[in-house]
Every structure is written in structure tokens, then in C-alpha cells.
Amino acid sequence: MPLADVSEAYTDLVTTVFSSAIAAKVWFATAAFALAFVQVTTAARIYGRLRFLPERGRAIAGVHRWSGRIAFLCTLPVFFHCVMILGFQTPDARVALHSLFGTFFYGMFVAKVLIVRDRALPAWALPTAGLTLASMLCVLWLTSSLWYFTNVRFGF
């Protein structure tokens, strides 16, 4: 299969559910953004904040882990469409900002995962990495999905 046909095969696949490949992308990104919110709130509870949330440590940790895994899976189709098909573009400030943050996103993700597993690092490293990653996802969502919903259309 020629490489360019992969793009068409991907479009055919996602348009079995969504109206277009870009609509699929904005909804996957929205799901990842919502799950990032879950990540931040559960992480805050793990660190002793947001005391109105239940204090069951294992349940909170489980929700945190699984919301992170599902959020990561949701970003994969977005990664494929943005990086492999559209590429790095700078036609205007919004797209340039989106391309820049998108380029750094998976690097920050990998760094955060490694920080989770490295117990030798200072205590502030993990929340700093997590908040940075969530902030990057927020910028990516604002410069893509929110823009699409408000300027193109809100729908599947």
C-alpha cells in the first residue's frame, strides 16, 4: 500500500463513526482533555488537596492510572493525524502554537512517565511534570478542538 493511501484508509476508518477525520480528531482530543482534568483532580487528592473527594487511596490511585492510560490512547489517533498526515505548520499564530506544543507533548509525556518511576528525584518533580503535561494538553485543546467547535461546527 503506498504511504499516501494510508491517509485515505485512516479517513475511511474514522468516517465510519465521525463526519470527517478532523471531527474525529477534535473529539478524541476533547476526551483526552476531559481525562486530563480527571488526572489533575485525582493527583491533587493523592497529594492531600481537594479534601471533598473520597479519601480511598487505592480507588483514587486506580482512577488516576486508568484515566491516564485511556487519555494516552485517545491521543494516538490525534498524533497520527496531526504528526504523520498534517505535519509541522506555521501559517498563523494558532497553528504555530499548536504545532510547537504538539511537538513537545510526547517528550513531556515520556519524561513524566520516567519521573513517576524514578524515586530518587525530588518530591516536586512529579507534580511539576504532571501539571506541565496537563497545561500543554490544555493549550493543544484550546488551539484545536475549542477553535473547531467555535469556528467550524460543534458536532460529530
Binding site: S7, E8, A21, H81, M84, I85, F104, D118
Partner: protein, 114 residues
């Protein structure tokens, strides 16, 4: 080397790889071969256009939104396809692709003939 640098170094390597992949655009759809030749379905393209493009270009490409008026604009297939694929102004790249793209391009060419 202190172990604490490992996440930053690996993360940095991932950033470089991501940037290289983004610049390569290895799965980008190829540009249409023919100058003004269109192979899409105009009537299906109209449906896709009303769904994906009319909010900016107006119903039937008549203008009135954030995008330019397309009726009578004299846009050929290669130009329309390039703009759809690469974006332009506030228009995002890849708004439609695959068969939808071919159909929308055919429709845009049909309405843009002066």
C-alpha cells in the same frame, strides 16, 4: 551523569523524533496529478461542503462568513485541493480528506467557474 537527567534527555529525544516525523509528513496525501481535472462527485461534494465548509464560506459558497466567497472565484482543482490539504488563513489543514476532499474539490470547482 546524574540519574535525574534521564527523563529530560529521553523526553528531549522524543521531541526531536516527533519534530522529524512532523516535518516528514510521511502519510500526507499526494497532490492531485492534473491541473484542473476533477474526479470527485459534485453532488456528494455539495453535501460535504454544507456540513464542513458552509459555516465559514456561506451556504453554497456564497460568502458571508469568515471565509471568502467561492462562487465565481475561478478556483481550479489543484488550488482547491492544496488549500484543503494545507489550510489557509484561519482555515485548518485537512478539514476534509480522502473521498470527501475529492468531492468537495469537485463541488468548489463547479461553483467557482466564472
Amino acid at each position: 551523569m546524574r540519574r535525574g537527567w534521564r527523563p529530560l534527555l529521553v523526553g528531549g529525544a522524543v521531541v526531536v523524533c516527533t519534530f522529524a516525523l512532523a516535518k516528514a509528513e510521511i502519510f500526507a496525501p499526494s497532490a492531485p496529478a492534473g491541473g484542473t481535472e476533477t474526479v470527485g462527485d459534485v453532488s456528494r461534494g455539495e453535501t460535504v461542503f454544507q456540513r464542513e465548509c458552509a459555516s465559514c464560506h456561506g451556504s453554497g459558497g456564497s460568502g458571508g462568513g469568515v471565509g471568502p466567497r467561492l462562487v465565481g472565484a475561478g478556483i481550479d482543482a489543484a488550488t482547491a485541493a492544496a488549500i484543503v490539504q494545507q489550510g489557509g488563513g484561519v482555515m485548518p489543514a485537512g478539514l476534509v480528506s480522502g473521498r470527501d476532499e475529492a468531492d468537495v474539490v469537485a463541488y468548489v470547482v463547479s461553483i467557482s467557474m466564472p
